[in-house]
């Protein structure tokens, strides 16, 4: 993870220098397949050949650098044919084709996408995340380019978007004014103050995946470098209502997975700073997937984790409110969202929920969050989970849903 220096804030740049070999590969592959389709079935050779990366056993320790490297002579090629010899091979072929089409669209529209985004375009089809990971990596390897040339971006960690000023002593260390550009979350030191008094609509993203294909857009993104936020797992959304019935001024923080130390320090500093700047206490909202991991992530934001017990008092977010996503949010309005969009829990999900209920005081029956406990139990009873991706399909997309929900909670 490339971390920002304490005093600077980096915006992530989309590399506009495209590698022509990628488009060439995609075009050639698709053209060959179309040509194959025009031939008689006996002559047709519908296949895609990928160069496979070396497996760990085919790696060597470089005697000079001491680093783990791929052994030079173990390149293997794998041919995936349609319809192939087995159903599995046929499926694998369609997976590659599907991913190629997604990458093609991402490259043509200049959008960045993460492997996770690709997986979530059709989780039932891809079955497991690692299928996508592997094919993307093999494609990059076959073409001989870096993954970023496919517009596939590793999820960066700790991003913030919005208007805020980081004040250290009497200096304004960071003056973030853009509501369209994301930047890495700055390192916070003791005594730092975060001024959000003039901010209009700000959001912070943590480990956020960058623009996916076909996702909804947040407002204030009218620049030529239009980006989409909101794919992947969302972390925390903050909202400050200066006055009732006013468009919420919110700082949104998007995260993938559990928040890291820097992220939580930043949020806590914001939480501690705001009461000095505003008469009305601000609201802090969290939006995560409606699954055991989402609930555990929310718990980590609010109560921190068992791994950092000595720091938790400085990092917890006691005012954090639960925005969603609840399984019941989806079932309650099936016409809008489609209750078939819910996914079944896996055995691992169920075990994870049981372990959470059993082991953590946060979920105890006499604990601080009976609603959280109830939600985990409802998931078990219904055997279902809800992922945020579902909300893209609702009226106004994810943003519309968030705004409606914030007003309702207010």
């Amino acid at each position: 993870m490339a971390m920002a220096e304490p005093s600077t804030i980096h915006t992530l740049e989309i590399d506009d220098g495209r590698d022509p070999s990628v488009q060439e590969f995609i075009d050639n592959t698709l053209a060959a397949l179309i040509h194959g389709l025009s031939q008689s079935p006996t002559e047709a050779n519908l296949s895609i050949t990928l160069k496979r990366r070396a497996s760990p056993t085919a790696c060597i320790i470089n005697p000079i650098s001491g680093a783990l490297e791929a052994s030079p002579r173990v390149e293997t090629y794998r041919k995936y044919s349609w319809p192939g010899k087995t159903a599995h091979e046929a499926w694998k072929f369609t997976v590659i084709l599907r991913i190629l089409a997604i990458l093609d669209q991402a490259i043509r529209t200049g959008q960045l996408i993460s492997k996770r985004d690709i997986y979530y375009i059709d989780p039932e089809f891809f079955r497991v995340q690692c299928t996508v990971d592997r094919i993307v990596d093999d494609l990059a390897y076959t073409i001989g380019v870096n993954r970023t040339a496919l517009n596939v971006e590793a999820a960066a960690k700790g991003l913030v978007v919005g208007e805020f000023r980081l004040i250290r002593g009497s200096h304004i260390l960071i003056d973030a004014q853009s509501v369209t550009e994301d930047s890495l979350i700055p390192r916070i030191e003791d005594g730092d103050e975060i001024d959000v008094s003039r901010h209009q609509y700000a959001k912070s993203l943590s480990a956020g995946s960058l623009p996916p294909v076909g996702a909804n857009k947040f407002p204030h993104q009218s620049t030529s470098r239009r980006r989409n936020y909101g794919h992947g797992k969302l972390g925390v959304y903050f909202s400050m209502f200066r006055r009732r019935n006013e468009q919420p001024n919110s700082t949104l923080k998007q995260g993938k997975g559990y928040p890291d130390f820097m992220t939580r320090t930043f949020l806590r500093a914001m939480s501690d700073s705001i009461p000095n700047q505003s008469r009305r206490p601000p609201s802090f909202y969290v939006l995560t997937d409606g699954d055991p991991h989402g609930m555990a992530i929310m718990s980590t934001y609010k109560y921190c984790s068992a791994a950092h017990l000595h720091q938790n008092a400085r990092l917890s977010m006691p005012r954090l409110q639960w925005l969603g996503l609840r399984v019941t949010d989806i079932i309650a309005v099936p016409e809008v969202l489609g209750d078939t969009a819910l996914l079944s829990l896996t055995i691992r999900d169920r075990k994870k929920i049981m372990a959470m209920l059993r082991n953590s005081p946060v979920w105890a029956s006499d604990g601080p969050e009976p609603e959280w406990r109830a939600e985990l139990q409802r998931m078990l009873v219904l055997n279902m989970k809800a992922e945020i991706e579902i909300l893209y399909g609702c009226q106004g997309g994810l943003e519309g849903w968030i705004n409606r929900r914030m007003f309702r909670q207010e």
Binding site: T328, M354, L357, R358, P370, A374, Q377, R378, L380, N383
Partner: protein, 309 residues
């Protein structure tokens, strides 16, 4: 023709978390929830007082409770995966430590208890159906495999001849208890099944779930008799009245419906809450009037009686 049921009060906030299951005896209603205790309320007193609270019954909550016909035995299935046995003497419930120990390791999500309390049937998260004989130290006497889809619900026919289970993939299975065979395969539902219930004379099996319709099957032929549609949300629970004249259903949007078996139509709809009603059960008749109890995400138990006169 519609019928009227009047609210006869409620046990407000009987639990601090969603009530997932209700079980009835002649004078009591037992409830379990996401909290750890089993609550016992009187159904004969006008204000439905709390008679007993079995605290710490299931530390991480309990999703199913069933009782036998005469109300001497109850079985609970908890979120921790444990199945526990409770026995009642003079209206007071106590843990049956021996049978609970006998059943340790018994794998069951949804459970059903035979009328006489001797046989416990359960369906697992993998869709396996087991039957235990509680008269012989909880020996497992049946073990049926299905296609592996999550078993959400199970029922034993009152005559003891049949077991039915409902599954997440929409399948409904019937087994005969004597041979362990499936007499026929049922057409099933499209979406997850959340409730199955045999009529008092065991002639009809009702099944319902996310498809929002109740399907009635003839248990002698496996044919569908009727589809009852009217719910606009997932159906979570089903209960037959003593005589089999009426079927009670509850759904995710808080609606409770009473269906006439004579006309196959909905004769009453109640919507006291907009939150999920996880369980609805007919109460024993008082005189000639019938009544029912409902409970769910609003954490109270509501009681209704038929309007007479």
């Amino acid at each position: 023709m519609s019928k009227q049921y009047l609210s006869r009060g409620s046990a407000d906030n009987a639990h601090i978390i969603d009530i997932f299951s209700l079980a009835i005896t002649d004078k009591q209603i037992l409830s379990t929830s996401g909290a750890s205790s089993i609550k016992v309320h009187s159904t004969t007193d006008a204000d439905f007082p709390l008679l007993q609270s079995i605290d710490g019954a299931h530390t991480i909550g309990c999703h199913h409770i069933v009782t036998n016909g005469n109300g001497s035995r109850a079985i609970t299935a908890g979120f921790d995966g444990e199945v526990k046995v409770w026995s009642c003497q003079d209206g007071h419930w106590a843990a049956d430590a021996k049978l609970t120990a006998d059943l340790s390791g018994a794998d069951a999500w949804a459970i059903a208890l035979s009328e006489d309390g001797q046989y416990l049937a359960g369906v697992t998260q993998e869709g396996r159906i087991n039957v235990w004989d509680l008269a012989t130290d909880g020996t497992r006497i049946r073990d049926h495999e299905t296609k592996g889809s999550f078993g959400t619900c199970i029922d034993l026919s009152p005559d003891g001849r049949l077991i039915a289970s409902g599954h997440e993939d929409g399948a409904v299975y019937i087994f005969t208890t004597e041979t362990g065979r499936m007499p026929f395969s049922l057409s099933g539902l499209v979406n997850p099944v959340r409730a199955v219930a045999f009529s008092p004379k065991s002639r009809i099996l009702a099944a319902a779930g996310d498809s929002k319709v109740i399907v009635l099957y003839d248990t002698s032929s496996g044919e569908q008799i009727a589809n009852l549609s009217g719910h606009s949300a997932w159906i979570l629970s089903l209960s037959w009245s003593d005589t089999g004249e009426y079927l009670l259903s509850s759904s995710f949007d808080g609606k409770v419906k009473v269906w006439s078996m004579e006309t196959k139509t909905c004769v009453a709809t109640h919507s006291e809450t907009d939150k999920a009603v996880w369980s609805a059960k007919w109460l024993p008749k008082i005189g000639k009037t019938e009544g029912f109890a409902t409970a769910g995400a609003n954490r109270s138990i509501a009681f209704y009686r038929e309007a007479t006169g």
